[in-house]
C-alpha cells in the first residue's frame, strides 16, 4: 500500500536528482520535461523546465498563482504546446500530439462537468467516445462512481450537486478511462476546509490503491506536503526545488522555498554568523525556536538571541511569537504554555539548536 515510499529521493540538490533520474530506465519515468519553455507574448509562463515525474508517484507542483504550475499541467495535457524543449510521456515525445490522443486525463479546477449530461453520462463520456457499448460503459461508469462514493447520483445533473460531489464526478470521469497519468488542477481549491481535508485523505488512498501517477497542482503548501511523494516548488516560471516533502520543508535550498513553504525565518550570512551559525544564507524554522523570559539560562550547545516581544498571535494550542532581536525580526511557533505570561513589549530570550540552522544556496 505504500508504493510511493521507495520512490522517495534521498538527493538534496535538484541537479543531482535530475541527473540520477536521467539514468533511470524510460519506463520508470511517466513524464519528462527537457528544457521546456512556453511564452505568451513577452511573458515567460514557464522557462527552462527540466525534470522527471516517475511512474506511480504522487507529484505536486506547488507555487503561488502565476508561477507557471498550471501552464506546466496544460503542457502535459496538450492544451498548450511548448515553444522550446521536449515533453515525453512514457518515453514518447508528444510534440504536436493533440490532447485527445494522450493517455492522460485531467480533473479541472472548475470541474468542467458537461451541464447537458447527467452524472452517469458525464462519467462515461470518454468510454462513449472510444466506441464502447452502452451496457459495458454504464457498468464501468457505475464502478467508477462507487470508487468515489457517489452511488445513487447517476441521474442527477451537475447543477444539482454540491461542490464536493462535482469534484468526485470529475474524478470518476477521468479515472474511468484508466489514464496512465492523472492531472489535477487545484481540484480542492473550491471546497471548504473540512471537505478539503477529507478529500486529501481519499485522493491519497485512491492514488495508492490504483498505483497511478498523480500530478497535482496546488498553491497550498500544507496540501502538497501532506499528500505528495515529491514536490516541485515553482516560482516565476521556474522550478526552484524538487524533492520529498521532508527535503522541501527541512532543507530548503533557496530563500523562496524557505519562505513560501511554512514561513521560515531566512537570515542573511552576517545575521546568521552573529547568532552563532554559519556565515551563509540560513533558514530557521519557527517551530525550532523556543521562547523564554529574558535572562533564562540556556543549555550549553544551544544558540540564543535576546530581543523584545512585538506580538503574540493566538493559534489554538500554539502561539506565534514575533520578537525583535536588535533589528532582526524572528518568528517562533511555540506551545501556548511556554508564553502564557508573555506580553508585547517585554524582553525575552530565544534559543535553538545549531542544527536547526539550515544553510541554503546563496541568492542568485
Amino acid at each position: 500500500m505504500t508504493s510511493g515510499a521507495p520512490l522517495m529521493s534521498v538527493h538534496t540538490r535538484p541537479q543531482d536528482t535530475v541527473a540520477a533520474q536521467s539514468l533511470a530506465p524510460a519506463h520508470g519515468c511517466a513524464v519528462r520535461f527537457q528544457d521546456v519553455a512556453r511564452h505568451f507574448g513577452a511573458v515567460r509562463a514557464v522557462d527552462g523546465l527540466d525534470f522527471d515525474i516517475r511512474a506511480g508517484e504522487f507529484f505536486s507542483m506547488l507555487g503561488p498563482s502565476g508561477s507557471g504550475k498550471t501552464t506546466c499541467l496544460r503542457l502535459i495535457a496538450g492544451f498548450e504546446q511548448p515553444d522550446a524543449g521536449t515533453i515525453s510521456i512514457f518515453g514518447e515525445p508528444v510534440a504536436g500530439v493533440p490532447p485527445y490522443r494522450r493517455a492522460v486525463n485531467t480533473v479541472f479546477q472548475d470541474y468542467a462537468l458537461f451541464p447537458h449530461l447527467n452524472v452517469l453520462d458525464n462519467v462515461t463520456y470518454g468510454l462513449r467516445i472510444r466506441g464502447m457499448g452502452r451496457a459495458e460503459r454504464e457498468r464501468l461508469g457505475r464502478e467508477a462512481l462507487a470508487l468515489v462514493k457517489l452511488v445513487g447520483f447517476e441521474a442527477r445533473r451537475p447543477q444539482q450537486l454540491s461542490g464536493g460531489q462535482r469534484q468526485r464526478v470529475a474524478l470518476a470521469r477521468a479515472l474511468v478511462n484508466r489514464p496512465k497519468v492523472l492531472l489535477l488542477d487545484e481540484p480542492l481549491g473550491a471546497l471548504d476546509l473540512k471537505l478539503r481535508e477529507e478529500m486529501q485523505v481519499e485522493l491519497k488512498a485512491l492514488q495508492r490503491s490504483l498505483g497511478l501517477t498523480f500530478i497535482f497542482v496546488t498553491h497550498d503548501q500544507g496540501e502538497a506536503l501532506s499528500m505528495s511523494d515529491r514536490v516541485a516548488v515553482f516560482n516565476a516560471g521556474r522550478i526552484v526545488q524538487v524533492g520529498t516533502p521532508e527535503e522541501i520543508y527541512e532543507r530548503p535550498q533557496a530563500r523562496f522555498v524557505a519562505e513560501f513553504v511554512g514561513g521560515s525565518n531566512v537570515l542573511g550570512p552576517d545575521v546568521a554568523a552573529r547568532f552563532g551559525g554559519p556565515s551563509r544564507l540560513v533558514s530557521l524554522r519557527p517551530e525550532a525556536i523556543a521562547v523564554r523570559p529574558a535572562g533564562y539560562t540556556v543549555e550549553p550547545g544551544r544558540l540564543h538571541a535576546d530581543g523584545t516581544c512585538i506580538e503574540v498571535q493566538y493559534q489554538g494550542a500554539m502561539r506565534r511569537v514575533i520578537v525583535d532581536c536588535e533589528g532582526v525580526r524572528l518568528c517562533a511557533l511555540v506551545p501556548a504554555s511556554d508564553v502564557r505570561d508573555l506580553r508585547p513589549g517585554e524582553p525575552s530570550r530565544l534559543f535553538w539548536s545549531p542544527y536547526a540552522m539550515h544553510a541554503m544556496e546563496d541568492e542568485r
Binding site: I129, R130, M132, N177, R178
Partner: protein
Amino acid sequence: MTAGVLDLPIPRESLSRRFSDALFRRQGLLLTLLLVPPLLWLGIVYVGSLIALLLQSFFSIDEFSGTIVREFTLKTYAELLQPANLDVILRTVVMAAAVTLASAILAFPVAYYAARYAYGRMKAAFYLAIMMPLWSSYLVKVYAWKLLLAKEGAVAWAADRIGAMPMIDGLLSAPLIGGPSLSVSYIGQFLVFIYLWLPFMILPIQAALERVPGSLVEASADLGASPNQTFCTVVLPLAMPGVAAGSIFTFSLTLGDYILPQIIGPSTLLLGQAVYVLQGTAGNIPLAAAFAVVPIMVMAVYLLAAKRLGAFDAF
C-alpha cells in the same frame, strides 16, 4: 500515442479524427475555415453591393436620353447640393434628430424603472413588454397608427370626448410642422417614428443602467447628495453610453425609412423616399446612389462619435 490501457477500446481512426489532428497542428486553420463562409457572403455579396452602389454615384445620367453614362464624374454629387435636394437631406436629418431626442426622453423612465425597481417576474414581464413591440411587424405598427390617426379614428374620437380637439387643431395650424390632419402632418409622422423606434432606445439604456452598481448610488447618497443630485451626477452620465447606443438605431432607422412617410405625413419627400423614387420611377440610379451615400456618411460620423461615448459597450 497508444491508448491508455489495453482493455479499453481505442477510438476509431476516422477521417474526421485525422482532420482534427491537422486543425490542432496548424494554429489558425480552424479560425480560417470558420470565417471563410460568412466573410465570403458578407464581404462579397454585401460589401460588394455597397461598393457597386458607391461606384454608381460617380456615374451620371444623360439628360436627353435618360440613360446612364458610365464615366467617372462628380456631376451627380453637385446635383445633390441643389437646394431642393439639400432640403430633403436637411429635413430628414432634423426629423431623425428630433425623433432621437424625444425617444431618449420617453425611454428613460421606462428603462430606469425596469433596471432599478423591477425584479423577478416583474423584470421578465418588463423585458417581454419591451421586446414584443420591438419585434412585432413594422407594417402592422404603421398600420395601427393609420387607424388611430384617421379623421374618423380613435385619437380624434378620444380628443373630441375630452374636449382636446381645439388643442390638436391649434397644433396642426402651426406653420411647417402642421397640416390638414394628424395623419398628413409632420407631427403625426414624428409621433409614429417615436412609437416605432422607442424599444430600440429603451433596451440599451436599460442595459447601461443595469451595469451601474446599486452601491454607487448608495455611495453618492452616503456622501450627502440628494436623490436629484445623484441622478444628475451619477446615474445620467453612466447611462449616456446606453443613450448613445440607442440613438444609433433611432437615428439610422429614421434616416432610411421610406415606408412610413408614404403612409403618414405630408407629401414632401424624406431621404428614403427620394432614393426610392429616383431609382424606381425616375430611373436615375446615380443620383439615388449619391443620395444613399448621405446616410452612410452621416452614420459613419455618428458611429465614430458614439464609439467615443462608449456606445458599443452598451449593446
